[in-house]
Subunit: 318 residues, 2 copies
């Protein structure tokens, strides 16, 4: 499968001429070595030029490049958040959806935690994914047309919301989905207020400049478990601690309607939540069209399309 990836035209375009790092010419190989490894990122973070256009201020653009994330506080109106939240509740309570593969439940319970492919399941999230502001930001950052690599709704309940351990999304997307390079950006649209105490997203500023190759082979159909509890693609404690020592931990707070934009290789996670305040967000991953998926670099069969879309047509604003 590794060779399939190498043979694919998209992959060969995406690979740099001097792919010296990593195994078999893959600079972002992971889960293949006996030891974890810290590598430098080989790709730009920001393709747009700070100051160009009016999508982001120069300060915002530089902050995204340097820190790897950006918080757009209160971007969406209260009314729109209300409509999105109502639709979220409908989706989560829909018994017809509960047993579909797009729906992920809490470990050991029947409570819905995530629903994937929301931009195809309902019009309001389809519109949100193609919101001109979000799309323009994604295109500015990635310097390319973009398509949706993944969309989902996340719900972390109150009282017993579980933690989500530290990880880089790119590591998984590269190994399990075949995303060649770091040229994708995530947007978390908050549908509830992010407090300091209800298990909010935690980011490690600057960690997006570093690639942590993890140990442990990926089992077949790993995604069925990993969406509930990550066991592979988990960064080692020593390198993780070093990243946090260098960059600290940022905990973006904000009211519902705020948008957290972060790089695909940002180290992030979240603590559990015993407070009565649930946490929910709509999550979109925009990938550069030039960075479209090839065969998974981990050598297994690709994850299903609801986790990693293979419709690479450029998104147009609605």
């Amino acid at each position: 499968m590794q060779s399939m990836a190498r043979d694919s035209p998209a992959a060969s375009v995406a690979r740099p001429a001097s792919a010296g790092a990593g195994r078999g010419g893959d600079p972002y190989a992971s889960r293949v070595g006996a030891f974890p490894e810290r590598r430098q990122r080989l790709d730009p973070v920001l393709y747009g030029v700070p100051g160009d256009g009016d999508v982001l201020t120069p300060r915002q653009a530089r902050a995204f490049r340097d820190d790897g994330y950006l918080v757009l506080a209160g971007l969406l109106s209260e009314k729109r958040v209300g409509a999105l939240s109502a639709e979220m509740r409908r989706l989560f309570e829909d018994p017809g959806l509960r047993h579909r593969e797009e729906t992920i439940t809490e470990p050991g319970s029947d409570v819905t935690r995530s629903v994937f492919r929301i931009h195809e399941l309902c019009p309001v999230f389809r519109a949100l994914a193609r919101d001109p502001v979000l799309l323009d930001i994604a295109r500015f950052i990635l310097g390319d047309d973009v398509y949706l690599h993944q969309s989902r709704l996340n719900y972390k309940p109150g009282f017993d919301g579980r933690e989500f351990y530290w990880h880089s999304d790119f590591e998984t997307w590269h190994v399990e989905d075949g995303m060649p390079r770091m040229r994708a950006v995530s947007m978390s649209v908050l549908l509830s207020d992010n407090h300091e105490f209800n298990g909010p997203l935690m980011l490690v500023p600057g960690s997006h400049w570093v690639y942590l190759a993890c140990v442990g082979e990926t089992p077949e159909d790993h995604y069925k478990r990993s969406l509930k509890r990550q066991e592979y693609g988990v960064p080692d404690r020593e390198n993780l601690s070093a990243l946090i020592e260098e960059g600290g931990i940022a905990v973006p707070k904000g009211p519902a309607g705020s948008v957290i934009v972060f790089d695909c290789n940002m180290m992030h996670g979240s603590n559990g939540n015993i407070t009565p305040y649930p946490r929910s967000n709509a999550f979109f991953v925009y990938n550069a069209c030039s960075n479209r998926l090839v065969a998974p670099f981990g050598g297994r069969k690709p994850r299903p399309a609801f986790l990693a879309h293979r419709d690479f047509a450029p998104l147009r604003p609605l």
Copy 2:
């Protein structure tokens, strides 16, 4: 056992003449009804008069009375914190201590989470418990001589520190230890920095004015499990949510050496911790000598002395 408590001289002194609320004349009966119940606190919070003496400023005294807690930032010197932390590490790594009943390990592992009775196990914690500043605050708040009801070291590790669900300590101390009334105060001496993200103590301001009677009978030797995971004496979600709706959630931050003083009936808990930053503190519970223990109000045999001391001699400063 309930009747034993009623027959004991100490208990009869402690009971008010008109103990109308609760069952069998116990205004703080809990784990006996089929439904949870919200009751008013019948005891003062602050016995000292704001402005009297120089132990607390009038503002601090009133804040403690109204909110139920107080943060004394950076009370202990860095040097003293260093000595206390070194002693903590020694205790936690002492193989001779690991299998004693005073030592509580993480659920499903051998990692030490708490060590009790530290004021008897080592001189530096003995001195800390009798620190004139801490003692004076306890005596001012409780308006009485005080003794140590409990002492312990808590260590919440980094990476996989577990949450501790909401509870009122007094509920347990009343039901399982026989503490008659709310006339005790807790002090958490921070031995590591409290960040917003490493599972710090969360308090519900004002919740100390309310008593939540819980459902579910207490099993024999409950403490052996409850120190790892509370299953009884757990507040119901509806009343808990109402308390939090009314008072909010306070998350005292502070450097190592700070002291968090809080009322015995304060609703509190903490989230888990996936960050590399462990959290540790020394915890002392001062009880008014006039409020000394009787037989447990839950009717079971008393918990062992390392959890609920029965040496009621007034503490003198060192």
